[in-house]
């Protein structure tokens, strides 16, 4: 049925230059959502919400989510998914707490805990790519396994963490901008660059769009996806360290809030769960929406579960807008 319609289109129908305008339309719709939200909170809280300090606070709050979403976006574009990131966050913070308690140097603690977190990605990638298990099921399994492990290691206890290195991350502010925010911007910029400019970025789209066509064009359809799982876990363990800095504590319960919010941000940003379509730009705006929402709710002293409700509504509206704009594009 689709084919019948498509066949009748000719090249005159689609006027496009540069890259995907549909994508731009989608991210503009999202941008509109973000702007409306900012206006709403500005009206509700005229005093403090719309200030530079609060802007920075929002960005700091978005750091962990933004780092993970930057890695999740290309993974989903390639046709994969990683829902285990929350458990990697939890495990990393617990490992940081354990190692610090053992008296290890804090920089070594950071390196080791990130290595341990990243190794989960190697496991995910191996199971999905080499053994051919469905990525959702695989990462659902590792999520359950490693969040359980985080609870066992910590005996369910939250421990306070003090280390100079972590304070440095949190309180150093070149040009009034915290190091954490700089890290976020660098990570997102790098992801954007890889997506737009590199062969790897293009191959990710090719694999997600048509795996067999990519394979028959000599593109490695195993190494690249495997690498994306590793990068996803790496990003989650970095996010774990970031959270330890921000909260000054380690807890096996930390990751639970990231269970689905990373995937939510990516989908909200217009990336297709079916693969082959999506953008870091969209993800960045979606992360902005999520972070602003949580900040705004805090300012208005609204209950945090109201935030989840608003997020759910936003996600469904965004996906509807996305699909409608695609349909319009296809009919044009």
């Amino acid at each position: 049925m689709n084919r019948l319609k498509r066949k009748n289109k000719t090249s005159n129908d689609v006027e496009k230059k540069g890259f995907d305008y549909g994508n731009l339309l989608r991210s503009q719709g999202l941008l509109l959502m973000l702007v409306l939200m900012v206006i709403f909170f500005r009206i509700q809280d005229p005093k403090y919400f719309f200030t530079f300090d609060n802007f920075i606070t929002i960005l700091v709050g978005a750091t962990a989510l933004g780092i993970m979403a930057s890695a999740q976006t290309p993974l989903i574009i390639s046709g994969g998914i990683d829902v285990s990131v929350g458990s990697v966050v939890a495990l990393t913070t617990v490992v940081v707490g354990k190692l610090l308690a053992s008296g290890m140097a804090s920089w070594l603690v950071v390196v080791l805990s990130i290595l341990i977190g990243t190794s989960i990605g190697v496991l995910n990638g191996f199971i999905v790519v080499q053994l051919g298990v469905n990525p959702f099921i695989t990462t659902l399994g590792t999520m359950s396994f490693f969040s359980g492990l985080a609870f066992i290691l910590s005996a369910g206890q939250t421990v306070a963490i003090r280390a100079k290195l972590f304070d440095w991350f949190l309180y150093t502010k070149p040009f009034h901008i915290p190091v954490l925010v700089i890290i976020l911007v660098v990570v997102m910029g790098l992801a954007l660059f890889i997506e737009r400019k590199t062969v790897v970025g293009r191959n990710i789209f090719a694999i997600g769009g048509n795996r067999e066509a990519a394979r028959l064009s000599g593109i490695s359809t195993k190494m690249l996806p495997l690498g994306l799982y590793v990068v996803s876990s790496f990003s989650a363990s970095v996010a774990g360290v970031v959270l330890v800095c921000q909260l000054g504590s380690a807890s096996p319960q930390l990751g639970t809030s990231y269970l689905l919010s990373v995937v939510t941000a990516v989908i909200l940003g217009g990336t297709s769960l079916a693969g082959g379509r999506g953008s870091i730009a969209g993800t960045a705006i979606a992360v902005g929406i999520l972070a602003t929402l949580s900040n705004g709710f805090a300012h208005l002293q609204l209950p945090s579960y109201g935030q989840t409700t608003a997020l759910g509504a936003a996600l469904i509206i965004a996906v509807l807008v996305d699909q409608t704009s695609l349909k319009i594009k296809q009919k044009a």
């Binding site: 049925m1 289109k9 005159n12 129908d13 890259f19 769009g209 000599g218």
Partner: protein, 512 residues
């Protein structure tokens, strides 16, 4: 008003379905312009035309999938509006589409009755016993008694899937059956069986609208042939008036260029590009020996299941053979490794354009550069200008019909999409080009252009071209030498064989 001219030719009685002065516009393109047609009970009406001529749009309008901008539709001389497939179904019009709308994981019984299951006395409880009986009866009325009802459809050969699809669409009350290119993924033998089925159906009084690219089968079964060109009805002929030349002339709006004849190349002294020795695979090809020389087109003909697809995949390194060796330019290459094949200058145009070739979401540019992106980049960064230039070059060289390489690949017709896949490999500069069914689902105009291109590549640029095909005429027309496969083996190897020889080797026992 009824088209009197057509009615005069009525084979028997009044038409079941009439479309009158149908027009449909898509954006800037007039897909259909004032087209009228009638279908009579028990006749097979064939719609032919190049891709984009409007046949599929016309079929979709008759099936209620697309609403026309203007024009009237009559069923049994009563005017109807078909706003949805449901409306068409109520009116007695059934569509068995190109896409074969079946549920591959479900069994034959379920697929045949999909959505119309018999229930027991308590509603919602499916009566499986009578269900199986009903499906069996439905298939039996079509003369299909050799289908295993419990088999899941994905395990059936493609022609049986089409049978199931047709059986399913022929629910009680069917007056008109529309089939849109059902035979394009089939071998000649399979297509032949499908045509027999269509004849059985029309003998039961159903009118059939049959859309096809294959002129042989059109001439074989049509009672009348309608030719569309650029959205207009340009010719109508009865079975006795129909000839291939007349159809092609009407379709193209010019005389057929049958000028393409393989110019016999003296390839005795040419270098051997590809030397295959005693090649066998797990999926059925055994003990294949082949030589492919630079500057020649070697045609490999075989019906579905002959191992022809597997041969192409194996030579390109997509399948790992169980035995044998492949030498390129005299050096053995790593088997079962696509990269190794590509590095040795092999290119491969796969049989299934949509599932194996296209990146459906991406632009023409990205589809062309796919296999050569690393070479178009520096330290991992794609050089966008170089990439765009290369793509534009090939769009021009192969006269791909588009204004801009940034247009979506799906905005192109099937023929132009295929030229994009060809460009992908020509861009890599490959010296050995393997093509599996390069003109499947491609309109006649593009087909001729592809033939010309392949001959130019082989005879002028001395590329070694291996064309695997399920189209006997294609193989005979363009090949310098022909190999025929049957049951995973080569059964004939000859310069300039006759059609009978090829058919004999492909369907019957060894001809050698």
């Amino acid at each position: 008003m009824v088209n009197s001219e057509v009615q005069n030719r009525a084979p028997n009685g009044s038409p079941i379905l009439q479309l009158e002065s149908i027009s449909k516009r898509y954006g800037g393109v007039q897909a259909l312009d004032d087209v009228s047609l009638s279908v009579y009970p028990g006749e097979i009406l064939c719609l032919v035309g190049e891709n984009g001529a409007g046949k599929s749009t016309l079929a979709s309008i008759a099936a209620g999938l697309v609403t026309p901008d203007s024009g009237k539709i009559y069923v049994d001389s009563k005017q109807v509006t078909l706003n949805s497939p449901k409306d068409a179904e109520i009116a007695g019009i059934r569509l068995a589409s190109q896409e074969l709308q079946i549920c591959p994981e479900l069994d034959v019984t379920t697929n045949v009755l999909l959505g119309h299951y018999p229930t027991k006395k308590i509603p919602f409880l499916i009566d499986y016993k009578s269900m199986k009986k009903k499906a069996e009866e439905r298939l039996a009325t079509l003369g299909l008694t050799d289908i295993d009802l419990d088999q899941t459809v994905d395990k059936l050969p493609v022609v049986y899937r089409a049978f199931v699809q047709i059986a399913r669409s022929l629910t009680p009350g069917a007056k008109v059956l529309i089939t849109d290119e059902p035979t394009s993924p089939m071998s000649d033998v399979e297509a032949g069986r499908l045509l027999e089925l269509l004849k059985t159906i029309c003998a039961q009084g159903v009118g059939i609208i049959f859309v096809s690219h294959r002129l042989d089968e059109v001439l074989n079964i049509a009672d009348r042939v309608l030719v569309l060109r650029d959205g207009k009805l340009v010719d109508e002929m009865s079975k006795s008036q129909g000839t291939k030349e007349r159809i092609i002339t009407s379709m193209l709006g010019r005389t057929s260029t049958d000028s393409i004849k393989s110019s016999a190349v003296s390839s005795h002294d040419a270098h051997i590009a590809l030397h295959v020795r005693e090649l066998s695979t797990a999926d059925g090809i055994s003990d294949i020996n082949l030589e492919l020389k630079y500057g020649e087109i070697l045609g490999v003909y075989g019906i579905a299941g002959s191992g022809r697809d597997s041969l192409g995949m194996t030579l390109f390194g997509s399948n790992k053979p169980t035995a044998g060796s492949i030498e390129i330019n005299g050096n053995p290459i790593r088997l079962g490794n696509i990269r190794a094949a590509m590095e040795n200058g092999v290119g491969y145009v796969p049989a299934e354009r949509r599932t194996q070739g296209l990146l459906p979401e991406r632009s023409i540019r990205e589809n062309i550069s796919l296999a050569f992106l690393r070479q178009l980049s520096k330290i991992g960064l794609v050089q966008h200008n170089l990439e765009a230039e290369s793509a534009e070059n090939w769009v021009k060289n192969l006269s791909i019909k588009t204004e801009n390489v940034e247009n979506a690949i799906l905005s192109l017709s099937g023929g132009n999409q295929q030229k994009v896949i060809l460009s992908r490999w020509l861009l890599t500069g490959c010296r050995i080009l393997i093509l599996d069914d390069p003109t499947r689902g491609v309109d006649i105009g593009s087909k001729l252009e592809i033939y010309e291109l392949l001959q130019k590549l082989a005879h002028q640029e001395k590329v070694a071209v291996l064309v695997i095909s399920s189209d006997i005429e294609e193989v005979l027309k363009i090949s310098d030498r022909v190999e025929v496969m049957r049951g995973g083996r080569i059964t004939l190897s000859k310069v300039g064989p006759s059609q009978q020889e090829v058919a004999h080797a492909a369907y019957l026992e060894d001809a050698s």
